[in-house]
Homo-oligomer: 281 residues x 2
């Protein structure tokens, strides 16, 4: 079960994989990515992740890309690695060219993949929920595109860890609650679920959509709407959603207990529902 990397057609151990220093991903963060998780040897929501990758590249006006080739490379690398519970990381940059802000002409995109074993969270994390802090949303204005412009996410995540918490929740100066550093966010109040609508300020999470599907199936009222920090604090349940995150309950925010401080029943049902989807996707 080796962890492997793929760089533009070549396969190698991850620690041997390199890119030119003038890859625009390195000098400008001019690159997009996806992370796909496998369960029991099967990649989950593969098509959905590739559809989003394709959209990200189009939004940034990357050169015409043969997405099918990248799909095939990802499937092949995953098969070769033989890791049942893996994260397949896919990064595509605009290409390699002497440093210049403007788009280079006729330069091929660079494709980098890795397959790594997923280090599972301690079971206690899912059983007791996590603590979070809020931080001002100081990210750029196109968080709907899944790019490597991730330094604000890095800094926010580290602030959370430094505060003895697990994650940070981005909230605008005006108080609008956005999402986590690598996940979307839902609140539940009076039986109604709310999550931020799709705008340029959040990522359209694949797990977010699956959770909304499950809400419909279970006839849980769920709204895609703005809500503010006071609603976050006063929610009965709060949880994060994401590919690796799945449905992760938040039981304390900025030192305030959420609901009764325990993982709520709705988050539990949605997490089970999500794992149930594994059979169908």
């Amino acid at each position: 079960m080796p962890e492997l990397a793929y760089v533009n057609g070549s396969i190698m151990p991850i620690e041997d994989a390199v890119v030119p220093i003038e890859d625009r991903g390195y000098q400008f963060g001019d690159a997009v990515y996806e992370v796909i998780a496998s369960y029991k040897g099967k990649l989950f929501c593969f098509n959905e992740h590739f559809a989003r990758l394709d959209r990200s590249m189009k939004e940034l006006h990357f050169q015409e890309v043969q997405v099918d080739e990248i799909r095939k490379a990802a499937v092949d690398l995953f098969s070769m690695a033989k890791i049942e519970r893996a994260a397949v990381y896919i990064q595509v940059s605009r290409g390699v060219s002497p440093r210049n802000h403007s788009f280079p002409s006729n330069v091929p995109v660079q494709v980098v993949l890795t397959v790594r074993k997923i280090v599972e969270k301690k079971p206690s994390v899912r059983e007791t929920g996590i603590f979070a802090i809020t931080v001002e949303d100081f990210r750029w204005g196109r968080c709907d595109i899944k790019t490597v412009q991730l330094l604000p996410n890095v800094l926010a995540k580290q602030s959370a860890l430094d505060a003895g918490c697990y994650d940070a929740i981005f909230v605008t100066k005006e108080g609008i609650v956005r999402e986590g550093t690598s996940s979307n966010l839902f609140i539940l109040k009076g039986g109604v679920l709310k999550t931020h609508p799709i705008t340029p300020n959040i990522l359209s999470g694949i797990t977010r959509l699956l959770v909304l599907d499950i809400c419909r199936e279970k006839q849980y009222p769920a709204e895609e709407c703005f809500f503010d920090k006071s609603e976050l604090y006063e929610a009965d349940e709060v949880f994060l959603t994401g590919t690796i995150t799945e449905v992760l309950p938040v039981v304390k925010i900025d030192g305030r207990t959420v609901g009764n401080g325990k993982v709520g029943p709705v988050a539990r049902v949605l997490q089970e529902g999500l794992l149930g989807k594994l059979k169908s996707k």
Copy 2:
């Protein structure tokens, strides 16, 4: 006069220089940089650039870095390249570590340098000035740190080129004029110069400070203050300042002529004053 790269102590042709795919500069844009220009074989404002690099690394809580070693590497590489009119590019990333948002522990920073010949602008560009567009400032909230979170700058620059212009000027939703995609911005109206004050939303440009120095020397009134797009449109002169940019007049913005549409006398004096500073720095 070879163009050269330096990667963590090794020197090589730029096209042979590589970094690991799990360099955090590549996967998170978790890296800072500087560009230093040389004139007639002498690096300009070397200390000022290194002081800013040091500040950028401290703001991001990079591991303790021996800045003196990077300084020495930059000087040595520049000497070796023997390029009279060079751009020395310095990029320092937080290090190489399996992908995880949080800071890795005890991982050394990665240092990458290049020395390249500067391709001078056509003389006509400086003689007749440039055209610019305004774009909404959709960058992240810490533009005071010189990081590689540059994708919004890339997209804005490309929008300008696509519109037949040379550069884009970031303006907030509320109308506050920030700076160019890789330069600061000044306006002149009624004999008074204005430039955006130092806040987390703009880079504290070294050339910006030199230009403010020259204003003091010439007794030109200059204010560091906010001003809006209508003031930009109605200015007598507008110009960009930067290491490679120097003092670059803008004569048309969003299709509107600035002043009389010609390079103004104050921009000329400041450009000459800047070149005059070369002897002393």
